[in-house]
Subunit: 144 residues, 2 copies
Amino acid sequence: MDSNVKEILNSKGIKATKQRIYLYELLRKQDRPLTAEDIYLLAKNEIDCFNLSTVYRILDIFVKNNIIIKSKLDIDEKFYFEIAREKHRHYLLCIYCNQIIPLSDCPIEKYEKKIAKETGYSIVDHNLEIKGICPNCKKRHQIH
Amino acid sequence: MDSNVKEILNSKGIKATKQRIYLYELLRKQDRPLTAEDIYLLAKNEIDCFNLSTVYRILDIFVKNNIIIKSKLDIDEKFYFEIAREKHRHYLLCIYCNQIIPLSDCPIEKYEKKIAKETGYSIVDHNLEIKGICPNCKKRHQIH
DNA sequence: AATGCAGATGCGAATCATTCGCATCTGCAT
DNA sequence: ATGCAGATGCGAATGATTCGCATCTGCATT
């Protein structure tokens, strides 16, 4: 597994340091986007010589090499990072507890074609978040 | 017009100061979201005793009173503000020149119902941006 | 119209996420 | 085993936003 990651990184011309290998594996395990600080804290639990600036720098390199995706979520002012998957994903966010769950599909590929025709733009990407209240928070806050 | 704004603000329990009236009218004229700094610079052109902290504070109050909407766009790390309209809007962003144009409709109201059923969440809001390359930038960068 | 005061503004300092500078360290090619 | 380009650690800088506090201003009351 470890040597596998080393090869993946080397094949992209990225020197396979201990920190990079560790972050790559950590990110691959996650089921939702994390902030740089989340990632830093998780990493520091395992390897204590880990620096926040380094985390930012490695995330930057991974983004530039399309290994991970950087995005913002409407819940706060931070950037979020997640492994790049074959199919892109959107998330459902609970406005009370900030739980983040992945949605099963993307409803706007067709819409993009329509927009391209209407505006003359070439569409390259999109960004969709749905915000709601999760079943637990509905109970907790007596919302039906 | 001015007295009209005064009434609108007073009816929401917001003291109608010169700065608040001015910002309200400024925001109502815009066709796209602006950052606090954009707004500050526009306002300062007209009235020179205008302070950036005050702009932030007034925007905050307007957001809390549903007069304006605060959001983030994927082009930078700043917050954007726009007048709240009867129908919400989404935008198409050019990744080269950062032009922001409003889209004519919203394709995901049906999708929200499906998600609500699948997840048990109550959906309260959503956020959609489309990113592309505008006709001018396609020409300029020789992209077809 | 003058007055008082709660709340608004101006200004500078603080905060927080992110980035940068620079000295030291480490993969990896030789 | 060695050398060096590039990576890391640490602390300081940056930029958007917020806060503290002294001064000012709508507006309700007289």
